[in-house]
Every structure is written in structure tokens, then in C-alpha cells.
Symmetry: C2
Subunit: 258 residues, 2 copies
DNA sequence: TGAATAGTGTCTATAAGACAATATCCC
DNA sequence: GGGATATTGTCTTATAGACACTATTCA
């Protein structure tokens, strides 16, 4: 925390000196916070954002619902910790997974000082409903966003009957930041595709955007802007099992060809 | 990290049980990473982004230039740690200060495992040039961005003669993320005002935007969009000491009146 | 008066919203 | 055929870029 006195040395001796310093360095000389990762697995179902929550079987906050999380190993990168937690607690692998924000208020965990690096993952509805955790049990909870646009703030988790689910720690705030980030990103980054299967109708993509943004979009201009972006390509396949004219299926293409 | 077996208890006893659990919790039971904050103090001068760097007097990376940083106290929030580091290492207070990203690769610090939560601050050129640190010495380094748009990647720090300055740790990557974030934010958040004194000419604001974005902007549409945003208000004051027609000075207003 | 930039007005190209018309599927 | 949605086309409006023109200050 402080920068005590220092002495200059000729640069030729610097490497040996640095090696000696590192050998003598004692990482346990002062108390450290704990570092955790929490992963918000987001999906869209029935026109609303949903997330995967796990029931806390241990103290603290036993019985409340929490984001899948865990402590970061000393020899494990943050990204690796997030992927490991995702796989263990939800059984899901190889998802879009991105760091969100780091929450470090002093009292956010009653055990001790825990700083958590929050991540969010995106997955399509069919895959998240097939997911089976390697341990524990999961709830697929609907997110209720009590604010508009990118105002921000905590959100609520609801069960299938619309009852509010109690969230642990500051996870309502974390999920609020996830929603805010998703709304901000949808405008200029094609993350909507991560929430859909490989082939999708443009109407499905629009429904995803509307669920994330929390407002209706204009159908015509949505179609035009998506097609004009060059990020989707028609597949000549059609929807099936729909009680109306089937739409052509599109796929996401990385290379905009123009 | 694991969720072992659990027994159900009547909810009436839950509070007492949780208190007992917390009293017995041992935070030092497994090794912890260290947590630091680094603050990138960004400003615009001579048409380019600049940042404040401190010379490392201690190992590791002695002699290299680093972002002002320090370890997070066990009873100190991340935001408070960033503000403290900013004040101690640069003498600057009450700046726009926002969390950026958390860097946690295993080998990023040769001492031990150090996870750093990076922040960025914005300050106008006159104020940063008056800044005097409470300890150590500072360099006001020009940032050279070797990529366009929001491609991302490390940047270089240059001294007044254009010579490259050696950066410590992964700080070239951190500064790259800062630049990427600033470019992304300029489009829809008025952070440009944080880089200017309270009263400014629209041309100055445009120069700020051009320096951050790394490209020229159209003068006419820049003026129109800024004025139409309702986020600036004319002050009826004029520039002075300019060898041409002085422009009217504007100020940033939070409430867009319309 | 000339150089330099401030500030205004106009035209055009592009993107978005609104709306209408036709096409295609299932029942 | 009727219901529902897909898909295409047209019209209108808002915005950004380009450009021309006038205004104001200093040297």
C-alpha cells in the first residue's frame, strides 16, 4: 500500500537484484480479501430475460437463491475460474462468456471481505433447459426489470407463478448491471445471436431484442437494419411446425461481405 | 467452491445458526490472491490522449513506468481504494472516476498472484499539468494508439520527444482497454466534457472527440448534434486571446430541457 | 484590408418509422 | 377459403455529410 524508500542500482545488476527481491517476497505479509467469480447465465424465454440461479445449501444466506459462483484459485485466471464455475454449477460449456464488473463493497458478504468478479454468459433457451448441473440444483428464473432503458438498478427474480424469489448477497444488483450491459450492447454488437440456436427466423431475433430491451421494435426497420448489417445470411431453409406461413431461417455470419 | 450435503432446519433457528457459522468462519483457510487497483488518469493535450505514469522505484519492474496503483485494504471498498490511490500518487481529487475492467491473468505480476481492478479518471489538461503527487514523481505521457476504431489491443506511451517509454506489467494492455472504452463511450455518453474546463468552445470539444476517436469529425454535424443534444448551453461569454474571431463558450448541463 | 475561424442556411444521401399490398403456409 | 404471418415496396421524416455564404476578431 505504501512506497517506502528505495535505492538506485546500476542497471547491469538489476536482473539479479529483481530475482533476489522476488525470492524474498512474502505474499502473506498483510491480510488479503477473498476473490470470487459469479456467472449470470442469461437466456430469453417466453418474451422475457431469464437466468439460472442455484439454491444456497450452506451459510451464509442459506436457502436464498444465488448466481452460480465460486472462489478463484491462486493459480487460475479469472476467465478460467468463470468457465469452471459455469461448467460445475450448470453443466454448460463453451458459451459466450464475458467479464461484466467487479463488486467490492466491504459488507457485501457477511463471512469476510469477498470481492467478486461478475461474468455473464449467453445461451439459447433450448440448451439452457437441457442443462444439468454436476452438483446442486438450479432454478430457471424470470427477470423482472423495474426500470426503463438503461436507467439501471436492481432487478427481481420471479418463479414460474410470478412469485418473487429471494436473492442472496448483492446479486439483484449484479443482475441489474447485466441487464443494463445487455441493453447497451444490443445496439451495436450482435449478441442477440448468442441467445438463439444456429438457425433462426428474423422474427425470433426481433423477439430476443424486444425481450432484452424491454420494449417493442418496429418490424420493418428491424428487418432492414439486420439484413443491411451483413451479419446474417439466409439459409434457404424454412421454419416448420408453425401454423402460418413459415419464415426463412437465417444464420449469423462473422464476415460482413461488402 | 463446493456445495456439500446440507440439512434442512426450521426457519426459526436459521438466524442463530447463521451467526454461529459466521463466527467460526476462517478467512485464511486457503490461499488468497492479492487485489490491487490501478488508475489511468486520462487527459487530452496537443490533440492526443495522455496519461499520468509513475516511475517504479521498487521491484518488481523497477525503473519502468506504471499506472498509479496500490493494494486494496481489507476494509476498503474498490472505489475508495481507487480514489485514495489517485489522491496519493497524483494529488488529484474529485475527478470523474469509473471502474474499467479487472485483470487477473496468473502471471501478470511476477511477485505473486495479483488481481488488479483497473479504473480510469478524466481530467482537463490545465488541471493535470498543475497536479503534484504526495509521493514519487510523475510523467505525463502521450498515448500512441496503433489500431483504428474499437479494434483494441495494447498502446504505447511516448515522452515529449516521441521516444517510447517502457511500461510495467500489463499496463500497455490496460491502457488499450481504456482507449477502447473511451472511444465506445464518446458516441453516447458525454464524457468529453470531463476532459475540458467548465467553459469551453465547441471547437475545443470537437478537438477532444477527435483526439479520443483518432479521426477527424465533420464540423457542421458535430456542432448540430451537440447543440441538439441539449447537453450544452451557451454562456454568452467569448473566448479571448485567440488571433481570430472568438467563439462563444458553452457549459455542460445535466438536464436536457425539452 | 487580409487571414483565420465562428456561425448560419441549404441541398443531398441515408436510415428509420408508418403503411399498404402481395405471398405463402396451415387449418 | 380464412387466418396468420412473411416479404416486398412506397412514402414520409429525421439526421449526417457536404458545401456555400456571411460575421467577427486580430494583425
Amino acid at each position: 500500500m505504501s512506497d517506502p524508500t528505495k535505492k538506485s542500482k546500476p542497471s547491469s545488476a538489476a536482473n539479479a537484484e529483481e530475482r533476489a527481491f522476488l525470492a524474498a517476497y512474502d505474499a502473506a505479509a498483510f491480510p488479503h480479501p477473498s476473490v470470487a467469480v459469479d456467472v449470470a447465465v442469461m437466456s430469453v424465454a417466453d418474451g422475457a430475460l431469464h437466468t439460472l440461479l442455484v439454491q444456497r445449501g450452506d451459510h451464509p444466506q442459506k436457502g436464498r437463491l444465488a448466481l452460480p459462483g465460486g472462489f478463484v484459485g491462486v493459480k487460475e485466471s479469472l476467465d478460467a475460474a468463470a468457465a469452471r464455475v459455469l461448467a460445475i454449477k450448470t453443466g454448460l460449456r463453451d458459451l459466450f462468456l464475458e467479464q461484466l464488473y467487479t463488486f467490492g463493497d466491504v459488507g457485501r458478504d457477511p463471512r469476510t471481505r469477498v470481492i467478486t468478479v461478475a461474468y455473464y454468459a449467453l445461451v439459447d433457451r433450448a440448451r439452457v433447459l437441457r442443462a444439468r448441473p454436476e452438483q446442486g440444483a438450479m432454478v430457471f428464473a424470470r427477470i423482472d426489470v423495474p426500470w426503463k432503458g438503461e436507467a439501471g438498478g436492481p432487478v427481481r427474480a420471479l418463479d414460474a407463478e410470478g412469485r418473487e424469489l429471494p436473492l442472496a448477497f448483492d446479486h439483484a444488483d449484479i443482475l441489474g448491471v447485466v441487464v443494463k450491459r445487455l441493453r447497451g450492447k444490443l445496439g451495436y454488437v450482435p449478441i442477440g445471436y448468442e441467445l438463439l440456436p444456429r438457425r433462426f427466423a428474423l422474427r425470433q431475433l426481433q423477439e430476443i431484442h424486444e425481450a432484452v430491451l424491454g420494449r417493442k421494435l418496429n418490424k420493418d426497420s428491424f428487418r432492414r437494419s439486420v439484413v443491411a448489417s451483413g451479419l446474417v445470411a439466409p439459409t434457404r431453409e424454412l421454419e416448420h411446425d408453425v401454423p402460418y406461413r413459415p419464415a426463412e431461417l437465417y444464420r449469423y455470419v462473422r464476415s460482413k461481405s461488402r
